[in-house]
Structures are given as C-alpha cells and as structure tokens.
Amino acid sequence: MGLMEKIFTRSWGVHPRDYKRPAADAPVRVMPMPERLYLSLAQHLGAPARPAVLVGQKVKKGEKLADPQGPVSAAIHAPTSGVIAAIGEISAPHPSGLPVQAIILEADGRDEWSDALTTCDNPLGLDPDEIGRRVADAGVVGMGGATFPSALKLSSSRKAGVTTLVMNGGECEPYLSCDDRLMRDEAETIIDGIRLMLHATGAKDAIVGIEDNKPEAIAAMRKAAAAWGDVRVRPIPARYPMGSEKQLVQTLTGREIPAGALPAAVGVVVHNVGTARAVSEAVRLGRPLVSRLLTVNGGCVVAPGNVVAPVGALVEDVIAFAGGIEGSPARLVMGGPMMGVSLPHARTPVIKGTSGILALDAAQADDRREEACIRCASCARACPIQIMPLEIARHIRGNDLKGAVGLGLKDCIACGCCAYVCPAHIPLVQYFAHAKGTLAAEDRARQKAEATRKLAAARSERLAREAREKAEIAARRKAEREAAKAAAAAQSAGGMSA
C-alpha cells in the first residue's frame, strides 16, 4: 500500500488474535460414522426441503432423502447407508434451540455408496446448464456459512453476465482453519472445482483471495493453479472481516458493491473454496454433499483440529471424537466466534454450513457487563461498511426502529467488529439482530394482513356469487314452473276446445 493510499484509504475492520494454530497444523481426522444421524430439513437458505423417503425405508449412502421445495432450496442426501428411523422434530442449531423438522437415519455400519451415482470424466465438455443441474442434484450449498444453494448462484451469475469469479479463501474468522486445511490438502480438487464453476458461470477468470496468515495454503494453491492461466491466487492482508463478500471483492478487484446490491452488480460472483471442492466432487464423482471438513477448537477442547464429519452428526459426538471437553465451556459456538451462532446445548446436528464447533473458555468468551457508551466512536471506525453502530444502537434502545433503518441498519452485515472493539462491552450486534428480527416480524405481519384482506375479499365475492347463482336458479325454476303451468293451461284449454 502506497503512502497516498495509506492516507486516503479509510481503515476498517479489526485484527483479533486468530487462535488458528495449532489446530490448523494438526492433520485432518476422519470421524467414524455415528449410530444415528439427524438431518435437518432446513440446512440451507430458503424453503426447507420436503422428505422423499418413508420411515422404515432402507437407503444407501448418497441417496436423496429430501427434495428441494420452491425456487430457493436444496436437496438433502443420506450421509451413510441405513434405515430411516423417524421423521420428526429436533433442536435446531440456532441460539433459540427451537425445534426443526429433521430426518433421523439409523446407520447400518456398512457405509455403502448408492450405485446410482452418475460420474463424469470430461465435465468441461458438459453444457453449463448440465453442470448446474448436477450441482443442484448433489444438494451443494455455500460452504462458508451462508448456505445459499450453489446451483442457483451459478445459473443466476450466468444470466447476469458475470466476468470474474472471486474465490473466498479468506477465512478471516478467528479459530477457524477448515478452509486453510482444505486448501493445503486438496488444492487440486479445489482448482478443478473452480474451473468447473468458471465453465458453469461463463466468467472469464477466477481470483482466489487467501489471507497472508496462511502461507502454506497460498503455496499449495499456487502450485495447483500454475497449470491454468485463468485462475490466479492472490494473498490479501489478514484482517477481519476480509472474508465478507463486499470487502473481499473490493480488495481483490477494486470494485465497490453498491448498498443493497449483489456482487453481480459489478460483474463478480463470490464462492467459497469449500464449495469449489463440493462442486468438483458432485460433477466428477456424482457424490452429493454429505460430509464436510470442520474445525473443532476453543480453550475447552482437549485436542483441537480439523475433522471430517458427516452432515447430521451431533455436535456432542463431534466434540467427543475430537478428544472431548475439559473444564466447563463458557460458550458453545457453531461457526466462527464473530458471526457464528451461540448454541444452547450440544445435542444439535452439524449442518452443511457448519464451518466450526468452538467450546470457548471464560477468557475467550469475554462476557463482561455492559457499561454506558462513552461515544468514543471506535465502532464507527471499525465498521467495514461505514455505518455508525453507536447511533443505530441508541435508536434501537429507544425503540425508534425507523430512525435506525434511516441510519443504515439494513446495510449491517453483522460482522461483529463494533462489539469487538467496544470498550464499554455494549452488545451492539445483539441490538442489531433484535431490530432486524423485529422488522422482519413486522414485515411478515404486514404481509399476513394483506393476505387476510385478499381472503376476506375473496370470501365476500364468493358469498355474493353464491347468492346470485341461487337467485338465478330460483328464477329459472320459477320460469320453468310457469312455462309448464302455461303449457298445461294451454293444453287443457286446447283439450277443452277440441
């Protein structure tokens, strides 16, 4: 960065201690198949999947268990062979711990792949739409945590005429190292997936952005990408939230995504490196997304490291496999410490978007009492999207949500930088989450009121129509009766005259 840039570029973000090593350097361990898997039907953004199996049915590994439902949804497949034990409710991997519909699969221990998988030796010869279809069939979703159905993103970027594919290998969240590990160990597969995605989206080139605190991953990816001219690997400065779509695109391409717009607005689409691997597996081997690499880390984990776990394994089983817990964790988190969800308990399943499981000790969780805001504006300086967290939180505390939206609440990406730097320990992100949830609930209520009005109008129209039809039928009957009467009278008159 030149001097002029240093002076005129606004700094954003934070530099938290990353806690990534030693977990990142430990070799990957593969978790044995648990006896039961709990497959949530809502593992992706959008509508939950609809079960396509019956209780008691035998399934093989990779068989489809649930179909996507509606335009934004993803299929769910069996992570192992076994019997469907139940379809019911389990506790969702969510701070509320409220129930979610799930398919419960009893493993038979044989772990047999289905024979119906369609492999492909020359996927670059396939039609781009065919790649999208295979990715959709494999139930691939964004592996970075947003879990947006990948096939949809591929087809929509093709329609939008995207020119650059940005691959997110930033992994800026502290503690997490699964993308790092994946890039070190499976760089070839990832590059293959990137080239398939280039083909599917019609983008001309791909840039892989990797934070400079992962030199091994950069080296491995550079080596794998050397053979291809259209894939470039670019180290980027380690800073949180570098992995956020808008920040990553701006850093790598210099293009700024407008507020409320998608990266496609500047001709870019962003995918996670984990997604590239899943796409390659899905297209070349026909293997659906049924397991993933995730980081088990935190001060209370005995042997931190990266673990390949089947989707649907319980968090408590994954932690037990990673060596178990010592002491009492102050907080259990799914995902990263900045943006992940705090889990109320460990009896909840791993989903496709689970990038990590953290058992943080008291010092790491840092739950300190909220104090009064001293208006130091540290949060405004740290905010990567340049809104004023202190002012917005003030409006939310005063129940002035409209004012909060006016100050840019809707642009907030919930990265947590503001709460991280706040010297008064104000839970700013919680304020924003509360306000966003409340606004969404109000929106839903408005939509419901609108729908109710339509239903009421339809009903009154129906009642009017029924009354009209009844009157018409009555009038017709009456006319018929009178015609018959007249005919009878005429006949009798005729008879008389005859």
Binding site: G97, E370, R446
Partner: protein, 174 residues
Amino acid sequence: MMAVLTLTLLGAALGLALGIAGRLLAVEADADVARLEALLPGTNCGQCGFPGCAGAAAAMAAGDAPPSCCPPGGKAVALALAEKLGVSLDLSSVLDEGPKLAVVAEDLCIGCCRCLKYCPTDAILGAPKQIHNVLKEACTGCAACVEHCPTEALIIQPMPVGWQHWVMPKPAAA
C-alpha cells in the same frame, strides 16, 4: 350602546367570513375513513366491538377508538393506523400477546360444518362427518368460529414461533 353594536357587527362579519371559508375549504370526512379502512384486515370479525371494519374505521377517525383496537391486525396494523391518525402509540401497554391461531381439538370435533360459514377468511377446512382443520396461513385468530362450535372443539392458541421467525431478545439495559 356603541360598544355592543360594534361587537355584534364585528362578530357577525367574522362569522360570515368563516362560514364562507368553511364552505370553500370543506373536507369530505369519508376520505379519512376510507383510508383507515383500507389498512384494516377487512374480515369484519367484530372483535373490536364495532360493526365491521368500516365501523371501526369510522370510530377511529372520530377518535372514539384507539388505533390498537384491532386484535387480529396486531402490532403492524396498529402502527400503520397510528401513523395515519398521527397519534403516538404506546405499544407496551396494549398488544404484547402476539399473533393467535384457532386450532381444532381432534377428539372433540364432530364434523358438523357449522364453523365453516362463520370464518371470515375461509380458513377452516371441513366436510360433513370429517374432522375439520384450520389452515394456519389463513387463520387470523379472530375467534369468530369459537362460539359456533357445539362441542367447544375450537381453541384459540398463540401462534407457535418457529426458529426461523425467532427474534433475538433486546439486550437488557445495564
């Protein structure tokens, strides 16, 4: 004498001027009522105690009813009405019960079809001698059906909150 005359004449002149102005600047009151009625659910369920939504809108326009008088409309409708009426609304005191829903107790329903015709949104599904069901997307929890059930099989319950609709609680003030 002069004083009385002056005041009388002044009063008469001003009164006349205001009368003419009133005629010229007359506002048709119905427009207000129609605007309010458009915000109400339009189900005419009668829970507000007025004859239908039009009646409630008229009462609100006249200031006889608070904007929070529509239970099925909930917070969203109350807020919209309060904005239209230009009054501030104390939400904390009135409506914190959340949305409601009618549920059929399957062991009590005898399939008499009586409730069907009272539902303002056609949310109850049923056929003679079949257990009825309530479509939860269409039900407003207005309770119009409850009193018509001979076996008390219709129960009004709070709408269950799914994890997707869960709202993070506001941090407790320090």
